[in-house]
Symmetry: C2
Subunit: 343 residues, 2 copies
Amino acid sequence: MDNTNRSFKSWRLKQRPSGEIETTDLELVDDIIPEINDNEVLVRTIYFSLDPTNRIWMSDVDQYMEPVEIGDIMRAGGSLAVVEESKVEGVSIGEIVQGGMHGGWQEYFVMPASDIIKIPKDTGLPLTAFISVLGFTGPTAYFGFLDIGKPKEGETVVVSAAAGAVGSIVCQIAKIKGCKVVGIAGSDEKCKWLKDDLGVDHVINYKKENILESLKKSCPDGIDIYFDNVGGETLDAALTLMNKFGRIPVCGLISMYNDWSSTGPKMYRNILMKTLTVTGFLVSDYAEQFGECLESLGKWIAEGKIKYKVDVVDGIENAPTAVNKLFSGENNGKLIIQTSKEP
Amino acid sequence: MDNTNRSFKSWRLKQRPSGEIETTDLELVDDIIPEINDNEVLVRTIYFSLDPTNRIWMSDVDQYMEPVEIGDIMRAGGSLAVVEESKVEGVSIGEIVQGGMHGGWQEYFVMPASDIIKIPKDTGLPLTAFISVLGFTGPTAYFGFLDIGKPKEGETVVVSAAAGAVGSIVCQIAKIKGCKVVGIAGSDEKCKWLKDDLGVDHVINYKKENILESLKKSCPDGIDIYFDNVGGETLDAALTLMNKFGRIPVCGLISMYNDWSSTGPKMYRNILMKTLTVTGFLVSDYAEQFGECLESLGKWIAEGKIKYKVDVVDGIENAPTAVNKLFSGENNGKLIIQTSKEP
């Protein structure tokens, strides 16, 4: 294929945001699609993931991997792409692959043979399942809740950002494991979905209710596991009510991402007073156990025990505005950008 | 024995301190020594322990056990007492026992047969060993460092209050386990003891040095285990330098005990960024494993691998002023009050 006349768009980081991400912090750039070498494929992005961690990567605070450098293409937490050119044996044009760490906020990219993971065909599931519940958000919920949370039947589990891509799966796995589940979300509509469709026992709309007071009412036996996606005031309320030997998997701290100067929880002392275990984790550290995880999640989806929602925003140009929906809570399910049609 | 004319002194909590403990927050009261019933012993306190947790028990914040009630005898973290009267078969006058939860800031008390634990005779060790390294502080160091800290050979371990009763034992167990040890203490004299006598690799005098800068220099490979006794600024500095999968056993947060309104660590986010595990623990939760622990500690003491210091303050009347030495760092070893002579 002669690429010389073909260009693709990508979002490059222009400056580090102060506070909320502004469109002017990034730049939409046109580049020529590169030629591929032997043992490489050229892929066209169909979907890329928008995640709270995009905001971390835009900052230069010390973090779990290198931040995105100024001028570099914005990294994505996952993407799905279709092979348009292949110099890899066994990989054909039209096959769909995971972008892995090569995909980003871009329409085209090149991948080496060694990193190609094909999306299985004829699963009966929509392709978007593989960039949501069967991409990274499902496994994040699975490992964080089961490996770090160590749930026991009958325990009380509180989940923040409970209607989010990770939180909603945590709620459902907690129900499968026989826990009592309290979900905290930011709208009546989300709370209704959690309760009516996902079987969450109690819901709290944090935009309307006092979190601590509502948690006291909904957790008369205290909290055994607090699955934290947000940090801040919600973390403090949960810490206040944790039971002895409680566990706090730290999946995210989204309330801090726009303001790194914010302090830690006032109730930090309860880690000592209640002999708690607070553990940060990254799904990428569980790569070797993904097979087992995807098998369980797939089975639960097939049995109707796990439901998930995907919020597709069309057009690469909308990525910098859409990502802020994660911070305002306006998204409705796993947020992804669609940059081209599914084949 | 006719007790009617015999009185004993005890310190009772008069009001909850605001800030540092004042002598006027407690009251030294005279009471008549009680008669004992069948299956009880009357014991005379020889030593009782002063610990940072005394300050927690004086507060009414939610804590790991019930606070001491206003008007009640101040609880002690341990005591040694000699039997003066016995209605328990097999327990003789003159034998020395642990006070357990019955001992407090008091000269006499009664114990039921079921709670009596005798101190072994003819060990060659001074009696004070059994209210320090072989009482609770040694086991606190042992379980917190080994079970929560999970050290591996060659790892970098940072210990705050490193010259304290617990910290100094942690430093020495860490050396036994082949770790590199950095101790933080509050005087040049303590630092010298840590380095010259206990074999600590690097020492930091936090009253003279910037903790973060000194830790950066002494931990070029980052920190794998931070054994926290203090919280506050030291915790923040350690959090800043923790390595991926680092562990923080939370043994104490003494910098917060006089001001419960202090906030949590600014660098809390590193629990996520560095996938840390932060775990509060209490030595009392390890009661079933004390035998194994005391055997190891005894062996290490006999081999000269573990040294310990005891700071004996004479006279029950000095307890409320002496306890503040733990907060100013003026004590020199495990702080205990002697209320009567060893037999």
